[in-house]
Symmetry: C2
Subunit: 208 residues, 2 copies
């Protein structure tokens, strides 16, 4: 991961993996439309219009509006999991790895707050199969953070009476950055990440 | 505050202050419809239908859909602020008051998670005047928590390098309970409140 990518939480070119270009433009348009009006109030016609394309052109790439939401949610959750796995597999003790995990996870939620909001708030609009797939990814995300915390407890670095509850709280704290983060606010994604890493180390009793 | 009211975060009979009964039923129907489909995808006809009333009957009580959202948001924010003020004005040192504030604020967000989600996620659907009014209430909410943390720092009870940032994180952690809380999940609102009060005391360095 390059320094430039790290600065924005590994998301310098969001959706770069979506090809061809028309499919990518439609996905970006869908994220914006869902964030502005909500999934249910958005039509495929709205999305095609935002992307400067016809509804017929949209159907070449996506059969339904739900397929767009599923694709957005899948890519978003894959990214979040990759960010946490990179931190968990990194060097250093549990405190250092947890700190890196929180910093990069928060940076991603701040920098990609529009996508993160859609991914978090429209989960219930997915059909049963798509939702089951996303929930499995969320359990993996949870397991990565719980693993770091368990490592810290086992090594005597952390003091955590309730590991599952603390894991839930740490992830919740990071995810909610997407709700309140304001690009015109006083803090950069990096500054929020640094503040939160410090707060999370306190939550796990990593005697600083 | 009675014990029964405390158990559910001071919200045994939500919307009890809305009268007459028809106006209250319409508000409850609006909360459910906004939570399920989003504000923009909901019509006043949908809301009236859910309440078993005609659209004409709805207009007797609310001129527009936005008036319903504004009323819901105003009542929700007033309740949240009242809960925090009660804790801030309570007995005991800063640690005890912060603990009570977090417990009751979390309980409210868990027990009233449907309302809290609507209030948090549809803020941008309000018109400029209504939004300004709600943002002023949010600044008051922030000030109450910041005040308790500042008291703790001044008394030497807390160790907080960044008071505004920590205040933001504490409120964010509590508010996000509304997103993930599941009535069929393993934890009651009260148990989440107790866990979070402990985690927040760690965040402010209240040497437990």
């Amino acid at each position: 991961m390059s320094t430039a990518e790290e600065t924005s939480g590994g998301e310098m070119r969001p959706w770069a993996e979506v090809t061809p270009d028309a499919a990518r433009r439609l996905l970006v348009a869908a994220v914006e439309a869902f964030a502005e009006r909500g999934y249910h109030a958005t039509t495929t016609r709205d999305i095609a219009g935002r992307a400067g394309m016809s509804p017929a052109a949209l159907y070449i790439h996506y059969k339904t509006k739900e397929e767009l939401l599923h694709r957005i949610s899948r890519i978003g959750h894959d990214k979040a999991l990759a960010i946490l796995n990179a931190a968990a597999d990194g060097e250093g003790g549990a405190a250092e790895r947890l700190s890196v995990a929180v910093r990069s996870f928060v940076r991603w939620h701040a920098a990609q707050h529009t996508t993160a909001r859609v991914v978090q708030y429209e989960l219930e609009a997915l059909g049963p199969d798509a939702r089951a797939e996303i929930l499995a990814l969320r359990r993996q995300t949870d397991a990565v953070v719980r693993g770091i915390i368990q490592d810290g407890v086992a090594a005597g670095e952390f003091d955590v009476p309730d590991v599952p509850g603390t894991t839930l709280a740490v992830l919740s704290l990071c995810v909610d950055v997407a709700r309140w983060f304001n690009v015109n606010g006083p803090r950069t994604p990096d500054e929020v990440g640094a503040l939160y890493a410090d707060l999370v180390l306190r939550m796990v009793g990593a005697g600083k």
